[in-house]
Amino acid sequence: MTTARVVGFAALVAIVAAFPLFAGTYPVKLLQEILIWGIFAMSLDLLMGYAGMVSFGHSAFFGIGGYIAALALVKSPGLVSALLLPALAAAVGALVIGFFSIRVSGVYFIMLTLAFSQMFYAVTFQAAWLGAEDGLVGVPRPSVFGWDAASPRVFHAYLLVLVVLSVLFLWRIVRSPFGHVLRGIHDNEGRMQAVGYPVNRYKLLAFVIGGTVAGVAGSLYCQFVGSISPDAFLWTTSGEALLMVIIGGTGTLGGSMLGAAAFILLQSMVSSYTERWMLILGLTFVFLVLFAPGGILGALRGRVGIHS
C-alpha cells in the first residue's frame, strides 16, 4: 500500500469513528447501514471482480450469518455468538453451495447460486421455530470484552473495528499470491489449468472466503436492527449487493463500499420525497452503466488519472 493510501484510509477511519460526536442518531444509523452493506458488497466483489464468479445467491450467506447470530445471541450474548458461529456457519454453507455451483460457470452458475439462496428463503419462510415469515425478533446485541454493544457508542466502535478488519483482510487477499491466482482464473481459466492450477479448488476457496465475510455482514446486520427475517435470503438482497458492486466499480473492493454508500444514501434521500424511489434508482443505475461502465471508482480514476 502506498503512503497516500494509508493516510487516506486512516483519515477515513478517523472521520467514521468521530461521526457520532457531531452527527444525529439518524445519520449515524445510515452510516452504520452503509458500513455493513459495504462489507457484504465487498465480499461479493471478491467473487465477481477478482475470481470472475458472478453469484446471484450471495444472500444465502448473509441470511445464514443473520439467523445463526439471532439464535445464538439469545442464548449467550458474546462474541462467539456474534461472530464466530455465524462466520463458521456461513463458511460451511458456502462450502456446500460452492461445491456444487463452481462446477458450472456463467448463467448456470448464476442460476444455481440463486436457486440455493431461494431454498433458504423458502425454508425459513415456512419454519415456525425460526419465526416463519416474521423471522426472529428481539435479538440482543453482544457484550464485547465487557462492553455492552447495546450502547450506541460501543456498537459504533465495535462495528468500525470489524469493518476495518474485514477491509484489510480482503485487501490483503486480493494482493496475495492467492489473489493473483484468482485474477488469472478470471482472465483465462483454461490456461490456468494448462500451467498446473487445480482451478476448482481455488474457486471454492474464494467462494468460501466471500461467503464467510458475507456471513459476518449478515450477523452485523442482525445485531444492527435487532432482528432477522426470511427477506435476508431473498434474491433482492443478492441483487442489491450486486448493484452496489457494479455502481461502485467491479474489481476494486473500495468501490463496493462507495457503491453501498451511493445506493443507501440515494434510497434514503429519494424515498423521503417519493414512494417511487426504485424508479429513480433504476434510472440512475441505467445512466451509470451507460456512461460510467467502470462504476463510480472507475470514473474517478479515469478523471483524476489514478490507477491501482
Partner: protein
C-alpha cells in the same frame, strides 16, 4: 529411470468424435532430451494428439506413459504438475495481465505458495526469478510491464512459449509456435527454440519445413489419425508417401 528409457510412450492411442476417428491407434516413443516434430496435413490429428496427451481431451482408447507413469485420463493441471507444458496454436494468454504476471503465474503453478492468502506477492522469489529467466529466453525482458493483450502478435507468440518455459517442464509440447508469423519472426522463433536448454524434451507441431529441418532430431508424420512414418528429417523427406500426402496423389 534409466537414461535410455523413453520419457513419453504412447501406445495405440485412439480418439473418436462420433463416427470420426481423429486418432486411430497412434503409437510413438520420445526419448529424454529428444526434439521431435509432428507433421502432417491439416486434419491429420496433430492438435487432437496434443489435446489427448495433455489431458484436454480424454482418449477413447490406448495408453500414455509419461516419465514412467501411466497418465492417460488425468486432468490437464495434474499433467502440468508432473512436468508436461504445452503451448497453443491460437494465443491463449492472460491477456489482461502483464508479461511478468503471465510468466509469474506459470512459474508459481508448481508450488504450494499460491494458497498463501495473506503474504505479499513480492515474496515469491523463486517464481519471480523463473519468470524473468523465461522472459529472457523468449526475448521479452524489455516488455515485462506491458499488458499481454497490447503486445504485437509476434510478441504474444513468444509469450505463449515463455509461459510454458516458466513452468519448467520436462516435456514441452509446442503447437505451431510459428503460426501466423512473418518469415523474420519465424527465423527469430526458430533461433530461440534452438537455444532452449537441451534437457527439455520437445514435441513440436510445425508446418514450416525449414523450422522442422533445423530443429527436429526425429520427425513423426501423421495422416488421417495414423502414424504414416517416422525417422530423421532427411529420411522422412525422401519417403514418397510423405510427398503424396502433402501434395495429394490423386
Amino acid at each position: 529411470m534409466s537414461a535410455s528409457a523413453p520419457l513419453l510412450v504412447i501406445g495405440g492411442l485412439t480418439r473418436r468424435f462420433g463416427a470420426l476417428s481423429a486418432l486411430n491407434g497412434v503409437s510413438l516413443a520420445v526419448a529424454p532430451w529428444e526434439r521431435r516434430a509432428i507433421i502432417g496435413p491439416n486434419g491429420a490429428g496433430k492438435t487432437t494428439l496434443f489435446n489427448v496427451i495433455t489431458g484436454q481431451l480424454r482418449p477413447s482408447g490406448g495408453s500414455i506413459l509419461f516419465d514412467g507413469e501411466q497418465v492417460e485420463g488425468l486432468k490437464p493441471h495434474a499433467l502440468a504438475r508432473r512436468g508436461m507444458g504445452r503451448s497453443f496454436q491460437r494465443n491463449n494468454l492472460f491477456f489482461k495481465l502483464t508479461v511478468l504476471e503471465n510468466l509469474r503465474l506459470a512459474a508459481a503453478a508448481g508450488g504450494r505458495g499460491s494458497y498463501n492468502l495473506l503474504g505479499g506477492i513480492e515474496r515469491m522469489r523463486a517464481a519471480l526469478e523463473r519468470a524473468r529467466a523465461a522472459a529472457e529466453a523468449v526475448g521479452l525482458s524489455a516488455r515485462l510491464g506491458e499488458v499481454a493483450g497490447t503486445l504485437s502478435y509476434g510478441e504474444q507468440r513468444q509469450l505463449e512459449v515463455g509461459v510454458v518455459l516458466a513452468t519448467a517442464p520436462k516435456l514441452m509440447l509446442l503447437d505451431e509456435p510459428t503460426a501466423g508469423m512473418s518469415p523474420e519472426e519465424t527465423a527469430r522463433m526458430t533461433r530461440m527454440l534452438e537455444g532452449l536448454p537441451r534437457d527439455v524434451t520437445l514435441l513440436i507441431i510445425e508446418h514450416d519445413m525449414d523450422v522442422v529441418g533445423s530443429l527436429a532430431d526425429r520427425v513423426t508424420v501423421l495422416h488421417y489419425g495414423e502414424v504414416l512414418t517416422e525417422g530423421t528429417f532427411d529420411e522422412v523427406k525422401r519417403d514418397p508417401r510423405v510427398y503424396d500426402v502433402y501434395l495429394g496423389s490423386a
